[in-house]
């Protein structure tokens, strides 16, 4: 296709498998945090109406406290896959960006506004403050949740445009500012799949928050998260089939064949999804069971990873007639890779230490004064 740019002549600075591994691992972490931000923002809107009940008020405040940190981690862990997708699929990704240019940049304006609104809600104020009015807080919650949903939609649209070069010409010609609504059958089911998936994973986050030490009625708190997760997961199955049916029929046939790479990835994702559903159902009965929480969370994270890798395979398959990753010339930069891996390992150790001192510090103390620390 004439409009597809050539891959960059500088080639890849590292092996394809390594770049893919980094891309998919970091994107999985990004999704785990993002799912709480997106799904959690709608959950908070619902929870807002029940704040007269003590345990709901506590859960509301705790979810609100987690939100900015999760948001910050979503952004930070979004940067890494952004780097690697540009490296691997730059010619498709950049083109999609330009086609939906104004919207693509605009999503960050929405993000910054929503981020600050979270802090407005989180700020502790006196009861006479206008931001404590339930109706104003409802509006703020709605704006935040809609903002995150629009961002998710724009990201989905970008992903769809990236793998749909046949839509580029008409989408670009519509407006030089860039339009995103390329007429693709994939857009709506993929977006709903992402949105509902976010609710499912957010539910697991809420189970953990509900079980945090000092919880009032932890089983009710956790159960509200499990029910959200269970409902979303059931709906997700229907949406998954819709999304699957929107893919080109030839690809669906390939997915159904277990002797294909795509088929294996799909089978792998389903194989992880089934125990996840079982765990979620079991959690509805014992929402405070520590071992089950860990198991569900681990399988849930694996499921997100499975979906990310399957999605990567679908991208490969949709683009294969135009480009194959094996076409890249690889000029491995061993020195910088070694430095990166060393620093990444040290960084993880550092983050581990920070998590450890925070866990211990928060366990041992309530608020104390600076004087007492000398």
């Amino acid at each position: 296709m004439e409009l597809i740019p050539n891959p960059d002549s500088l080639g890849l600075p590292g092996p394809v498998w390594f770049l893919l591994l980094l891309h998919e691992t970091t994107q999985t972490i990004h999704f785990v945090f993002m799912n709480f931000v997106l799904g959690g923002s709608w959950f908070l809107l619902w929870l807002h109406f029940g704040r007269k009940v003590d345990w709901k008020e506590q859960l509301y405040q705790r979810c609100l406290s987690v939100m900015p940190i999760a948001l910050s981690m979503t952004i930070t862990f979004g940067i890494a896959p952004l780097l690697f997708v540009q490296t691997l699929y730059g010619q498709f990704f950049y083109t999609a960006n330009v086609i939906m240019g104004g919207f693509w940049l605009g999503l960050l304006a929405i993000l910054v506004v929503a981020f600050y609104l979270v802090y407005v809600l989180k700020a502790k104020r006196g009861s006479d403050d206008r931001y404590s009015s339930p109706s104003i807080r409802f509006v703020l919650h709605l704006v935040i949740a809609l903002g995150f949903t629009i961002i998710a939609f724009l990201h989905t649209a970008n992903g769809v445009l990236t793998v749909s070069p046949h839509l580029w010409e008409s989408a670009y010609s519509d407006s030089l500012w860039g339009t995103l609504f390329g007429k693709s059958d994939l857009l709506v089911p993929r977006f709903l799949h992402n949105l509902v998936g976010a609710l499912g994973i957010a539910g697991i986050w809420i189970v953990w928050i509900g079980n945090y030490r000092g919880s009032l009625n932890p089983s009710e708190q956790a159960r509200s998260g499990v029910l959200l997760s269970a409902g979303a997961t059931m709906l997700q199955m229907v949406l998954g089939f819709w999304y699957l049916s929107a893919l080109p029929s030839e690809m669906v046939k390939t997915i159904m064949r277990v002797d294909s790479s795509l088929g294996w990835h799909f089978a792998g994702s389903i194989a992880v999804a089934i125990p996840f559903v079982v765990c979620v159902i079991a959690l509805t009965a014992v929402p405070c069971h520590r071992g089950l929480r860990w198991l569900t969370s681990t399988i849930g994270s694996l499921l997100v990873f499975g979906m990310v890798t399957f999605s990567g395979k679908v991208r490969e398959a949709l683009l294969v007639e135009h480009f194959d990753l094996s076409q890249w010339t690889v000029n491995t930069q061993s020195g910088p890779i070694l430095v990166f891996l060393t620093l990444f390992s040290l960084g993880l150790v550092c983050i581990g230490w920070i998590a450890w001192i925070l866990w211990n510090g928060f366990a041992e103390s309530s608020e104390v004064t600076e004087e007492s620390l000398y």
Partner: protein, 447 residues
């Protein structure tokens, strides 16, 4: 050559969008780095001297860092990524395929910076003092290392050095202006954070006048390194390409003025801090602090403007022109034509477009990134009143007559088509009825 679609931003131009976002981000990012140093040294000092008011201030300061640096700074950093991929797509692709591991390294530091920063802010009074202090130093180190790494990539764009011959990524990273860039940015970071601290302390009435004075005098210690701005700028100057030097040395009056202003403003703030705030231990109120911060902001913005400006006509020096044409592609573009290598501009175009249409496409491909029709740096105003021969003569020798602009490339037919298009712009007042009026007013006012 022009394989990517172009992103048109009416009135402003895509290049200006990058400039605006990058400028705001640089200010916030520098504040975040400098704030880390102030927090780490400040908490060490406060705990050693049992200075509770300084400690109380640092807690407030860390909240500002969170709200400005971690929210706006993080999002504006991503916005730079988004905007460069829209407006300078080819350059972004070249940079990412050269430096992805360095960006990945920078990301590691950024990740540690964010985690340590949140931990630091949320653990005041909740973890032992020594742990809190370690968090401050982790944050400060990671933030500065992030600056260190990104400086290598930013300075590469102006002075790729030996990379042009060897293609070795280390040659590109450790380029001639890398270290002076690190120093300049460190000084700027300290200055912006220090002056911000002086503004912030004045916003809180809970601090007495004496406490404020002590905190201001403490923050001022991070300003006196600004007196090093002049020698470090000279070091930087020595590393930049010779044509870039001529632009600063009067080749482009705006560059010279902004450069001198940036140096002078930074040095003056440093001298004032040393004599007024550190030696004489004076107090400054909110208005004065805001004024000083504004001067520092303008100085930083000026230096960023100069850094971007002296890189012209390139995005990546001696490799890629500002209009996405590679240096080694000029001959091919002249022989094969511009439109032949710009598939997105051929959409909907007849096989043999008339000269006006062809000229319009030439303009969109090579000119519109900097010259926005009826908008920023409108070319119509710049060529108003020019006869056709003069226009053609200038365009053919663009890179000689205006060496900060990329050469105009294309076949003879394409070049002539651009002349016709631009002449039609002059004749057609309907395109911008105010344009001639504005130009005429300008001439009248000069006379």
């Amino acid at each position: 050559m022009w394989e990517y679609p172009t992103w048109e931003v009416p009135g402003l131009g895509s290049g200006m969008v990058i400039g605006l976002i990058a400028t705001v981000h640089v200010l916030v990012a520098h504040f975040s780095v400098g704030a880390g140093v102030i927090l780490a040294i400040g908490e060490t000092t406060a705990r050693r001297n049992k200075d509770l008011s300084l400690l109380a201030f640092l807690k407030i300061f860390s909240k500002w860092l969170l709200l400005i640096g971690f929210v706006f700074g993080a999002v504006s950093g991503v916005a730079i990524w988004f905007s460069i991929s829209l407006a300078a797509t080819r350059a972004t692709s070249m940079l990412i395929h050269t430096f992805v591991w360095f960006w990945a390294i920078e990301w590691v530091f950024f990740l540690v910076e964010i985690v340590a920063g949140y931990a630091y802010y949320s653990s005041w009074g909740r973890v032992p003092a020594r742990h809190h202090l370690v968090l401050a130093w982790i944050y400060a180190s990671a933030a500065w290392m992030s600056l260190f790494v990104i400086s290598g990539i930013l300075s590469f764009m102006l002075s790729p050095g030996k990379w042009l011959e060897t293609g070795n990524v280390w040659d590109g990273f450790l380029n001639p202006t890398f270290l002076p860039t690190v120093f300049l940015r460190t000084l700027s970071s300290l200055g912006l954070a220090s002056l911000s601290a002086m503004v912030i302390v004045n916003l809180y009435s809970k601090f007495s006048r004496d406490e404020r004075t002590r905190i201001i005098n403490f923050a001022a210690q991070f300003l006196w390194p600004l007196v090093l701005m002049l020698p470090v700028a000279y070091w930087y100057f020595e590393g930049i390409p010779s044509f870039a030097k001529t632009l600063i040395q009067g080749g482009a009056a705006a560059m010279t003025l902004f450069f001198l202003f940036g140096i002078a403003a930074s040095t003056l703030v440093g001298v004032y801090a040393y004599f007024g705030l550190i030696r004489a231990k004076r107090y400054i109120n909110l208005e004065t602090a805001l004024l000083l911060l504004s001067i520092a902001v303008i100085a930083t913005v000026s230096m960023e403007f100069v850094r971007e400006g002296i890189r012209k006509p390139y995005i990546i020096y001696d490799r890629l022109y500002a209009n996405n044409l590679a240096v080694d592609e000029v001959e091919r573009a002249n022989s094969e034509g511009v439109l032949a290598s710009a598939p997105w501009k051929r959409i909907g175009l007849p096989e043999h477009p008339d000269p006006h249409l062809l000229g319009e496409k030439m303009y969109e491909i090579q000119c519109s990134g900097c010259h926005v029709m009826n908008g920023f740096n409108d070319v119509g105003l710049l060529i108003d009143g020019w006869p056709k021969e003069m226009l053609a003569y200038n365009l053919d020798r663009l890179h000689q007559l205006k060496p900060f602009m990329p050469p105009l490339v294309g076949t003879e037919e394409e070049r002539r088509a651009l002349v016709i298009y631009l002449m039609n712009l002059q004749d057609n007042e309907g395109a911008n009825p105010d344009r001639k009026e504005v130009a005429r007013d300008g001439i009248d006012s000069q006379s």
